[in-house]
Amino acid sequence: MTYQKREVYLQIEDLKNKISWAIGFRYAFVFLGLFLIYFSHTGNAYAPLSLELIISVGLYNIAANLIYALKKEYKLWQAVAAAGVFQFFDIAAITFLIYITGWVESPYWFLYLVMIIVSGFGMFSYYSFAVFLIAFFSAVFYLGLLLSAYLGILPIYGTSFSLTPDQLLISIYNKAIFTSVAFFLFATTIYYFSKLLNEQHEELFIKNRKFLAALTRIKAIDRMKDEFVSTASHELRTPLSVVRENLSLIEDGIVGTIGPKQKKLLETSRANIDRLAKILDNLLDIAKIESHSLDLRCQTTDITQLGRKAVELLKPKAEHKSVTLETTFPKEAMLWIDPEQILRVFVNLIDNAIKHTGQDGKIIVGIEEAKKEIRTYIKDNGEGIAREDFPKVFERFVHIGTGHETLSRGAGLGLSICKGIVEMHNGIISFESEIDRGSTFTFSLPKIKSNGQ
């Protein structure tokens, strides 16, 4: 249920609760009405029929009450069937009442209309809608009969239409007491059942509310986790920056001169603090990716531009290690992606490749267009990954491979961040590798749909 629908539903519930007193009066009115009908017929030929009517209406009402009292939980079809059956009994009772009070001349024809109207009160649930339909079609049917009899088109069951409209009105006035009693009878019948059905609704409604509350709680926990990570990162960063700044104050000789040996140590310390800060950044990102709170800012982006930018950024590092960086890009390849995040994927993957490729190695960064996706691969001829390490590649805090300088080591989060980002773009990331021959990391991103420009 949407929020607005729920609001409307609540208002109707409230209204129904306010008028539910009517149900309490139901039985009193049902039996009072039926006995009045009986007594008005005492002495005439309809008396035994009236009695039968009283008994049958009484019986099905008692049955309804028993069902209601004994069985507290209903399935949808049971509720609809119960409402349908009792509605059918009510229609039969009305029809019978009309029959014994003069058939076509009977003042009770309007009860079909009353039935539609009161059923209409309960129309806001599917169950009462079924009831409404039954009453509506029966009433249309009987009104059609009445009209055709009145116009003389069709005599009903051999009874000729003998009253003028004026006489018909008078007969209704004379039977005013029955009219009002009958009105209560049928109105309360409807309320009775609609209340029964509404209780089911209430139950559903409560379940729904509990579910929503649980969802809100889960979201709150998620947010707390998020906040915890970002606060933790903030709290760690502040002392880190003091240490870093103090070290670099000493290193830069601002608070007195130092020798080259001290300088070297300070430099290493400072570099390690930078490394710590980077790990913190990655941790924050991992936490955000895992709690799905990293919001992508997607735009139509030429992925080849991002590839070029990443290669540009890492060229110095590659040259430093005399690793060649080659690119094979198409002219352009448009995708609906967050450029900043995908650039990070490029940078991480190329950076990794450089780390794991020895002197004079070669790395190829390529982009290919397939039918439904754009595939990007970063291929190196470095040390490769051992087969037993394959399952661990995208895991967190895992370092694979050997012999790279400690300072370039992160927290082993780079690839899991890449995986997270690619998957958030509905893409796939995978790799192939052979020890001593090199590795190829490939990520594919789905193309923009033709309407999606």
């Binding site: 960063r237 502040t238 920056s241 700044e245 104050l249 601002i254 800060a277 950044d281 924050l284």
Partner: protein
């Protein structure tokens, strides 16, 4: 500017951090005023007339974003340059910094060279 030292107001609640930045800036020939919370920072920004403010975000009494907004939306003080120096590194924080009118946003831990370069760049472009 040639004769007069550039006055920098440093609003930072962490004493150690403030001291480290002060040392660095004084070594680079800047005139430093210190403030340890948001309210003190705001009143010093109004009375001491600094050329530039280095502003932390998580400050007691008045946070850096609000302080920045109050100065930048005030005709009299909006010419003061503001560099936000914060350990808040999320994209939303950096965007918030832009929204409140900061001239630059530097994240902690920062590189001293980066901070000095930014200060020089801002003052020269003034």
């Amino acid at each position: 500017m040639d004769n007069k030292k550039t006055r920098i107001l440093l609003i930072e609640d962490d004493q150690d951090m403030a001291e480290a930045i002060r040392l660095r800036l004084e070594a680079n020939n800047f005139d430093i005023i210190l403030a340890h919370d948001g309210m003190e920072g705001l009143s010093k920004a109004r009375t001491e007339n600094p050329d530039l403010i280095i502003l932390d975000v998580m400050l007691p009494k008045l946070d850096g974003f609000n302080l920045c907004r109050m100065l930048k939306f005030d005709e009299k003080h909006k010419s003061i340059l503001i560099i936000i120096l914060s350990a808040k590194v999320q994209k939303t924080d950096i965007e918030r910094g832009k929204e409140v009118g900061a001239d630059a946003y530097i994240t902690k831990p920062f590189k001293a060279e980066e901070l000095l370069a930014k200060i020089k760049e801002l003052i020269n472009s003034k």
